[in-house]
């Protein structure tokens, strides 16, 4: 079985890594839109347009299922992608629902925090899903824009990330008992985040998404082929990707995205890429 995983850039490799660990036999195509990263500060309309293009490109390569590894893309574009996927016969999974389910499982008292990019926090998809599942629940959204460049620099421990995490998070201590790492980059900073939030349960959307995929598709035999496609800079993806994947991603191919086709084109809000 072949599964496509897409992300705005390199961060979704944490999701691919978790999926590959949970289902080593799956053939995986990773598509990182490195020419247009980051999605976190872009408008919903732009994120939907980009996401449909990525989904269309993967569907065109014959994937059986599609994982939207990017939290911002899941926030804004999952409904449009699922509509297109239903027409095209491709199951579409996002990272938010698994994170929400896991957070509600471990949550006991106080509020749940959603840590993410500006787009994810403002978009409010995590918050809506949490409150819908448990009305009256208190949810705090917290954008942490410096976490992404810290992860990409590989500054995963030490004084700078500790201080940044403390500045973003320390006022949440005592107020929350659970925090969702709602951005693909944040699992790399998990230890630093945990120290800024002592006693708080951290939910990693990447591993939860992999578990949800395994449950939905069942164990899959196969060779576990991997291919990595990016819309810009093959070399840079290899270098930064190694921080996220634990080994250099290979092979990496540059791809030029065509306009979305078929169901993905008709679900595009502007009717064009």
């Amino acid at each position: 079985m072949r599964v496509g995983i897409f992300d705005s850039g390199v961060g979704g490799l944490t999701v691919l890594r978790a999926v590959a660990e949970a289902m080593p036999g799956l053939d995986l195509i990773y598509l990182g839109d490195t020419a247009r990263v980051p999605y976190g500060t872009r408008s919903p309309r732009t994120v939907i347009r980009y996401s449909l293009g990525l989904g269309s490109f993967l569907a065109g390569q014959g994937v059986d299922a599609l994982v939207v590894a990017c939290n911002t893309a899941t926030t804004h574009a999952l409904p449009a992608l699922q509509r297109a996927g239903a027409e095209a016969g491709v199951r579409v999974f996002g990272v938010i629902e698994p994170g929400v389910t896991a957070a509600l499982r471990v949550h006991e008292r106080g509020a749940i925090a959603v840590l993410g990019t500006e787009g994810t926090v403002r978009g409010g998809a995590y918050q809506r899903a949490l409150v819908q599942a448990r009305p009256g629940l208190e949810v705090v959204g917290r954008a942490c824009p410096l976490f992404v460049p810290l992860a990409e620099e590989g500054w995963l421990s030490g004084e700078v990330p500790e201080l940044v995490a403390s500045r973003y998070l320390s006022d949440l201590v005592g107020q929350i008992d659970t925090a969702i790492l709602g951005c693909t980059h944040y699992p790399l900073l998990k230890e630093v985040i945990q120290r800024a939030l002592p006693g708080v349960r951290l939910v990693d959307s990447a591993t939860e998404t992999a578990a949800a995929l395994l449950q939905a598709l069942g164990p899959q035999p196969g060779q576990g082929a991997r291919v990595f496609q990016v819309t810009d800079h093959v070399e840079r993806f290899g270098q930064t990707g190694a921080i996220f994947l634990g080994q250099e991603p290979s092979p990496v191919e540059w791809v030029d995205l065509p306009p979305p086709a078929g169901a993905f084109a008709s679900c595009c809000p502007e009717g064009r890429f």
Copy 2:
């Protein structure tokens, strides 16, 4: 006289601010490609393609001159923009040459450092221009990726920016006597950078570019009209822009970039946008 200033996002407002101070009568159109920011990590080919699109759009609005406020765009795309501008009758100014001239004016001994994004430092345009003007000069390039998000967060002083600046720069102390702030965002962190580099002369490409423009065009009478155009998120540009401009930019318009036309299309390396 009407001058167009473009940048990958919000950072070029430091250049607009300096130009407006030097030549208050100029009518200025600012174009920020916020849908595709940042350019600093993109490949040269992509940056050239994007820059020709921005230049074409401003030329289509009848500007007499064009300022490439983005250091990365100047690094990769200035020759292509100048070829297109020469055909279209639009003078094109970049931020690198003024910074280089100023650095050579104040430099006395040791090396000159170029601080910028990955794209600017790897692209090597500052380094080449410095060495061409003064053969044998020692030039050190230093990418400081966290400076941009720090500036956009408005974390311009305090422990975090001090530590980040020290981590990026402290080994340069004693080795350099001059540092070029080769990214539009860096002037906001000038005080922090100065403390990390005590005694080092800092050259601000924004003010040097404004001075070069004044020298080339001469004083210009006029009403000093301003308009700000962005390719994404009008509201976010207004908020972050205030940090860079010292006041909220207004009016801000969303624009949908058409493919480059005329001379700008024929100078596009792929023949298309």
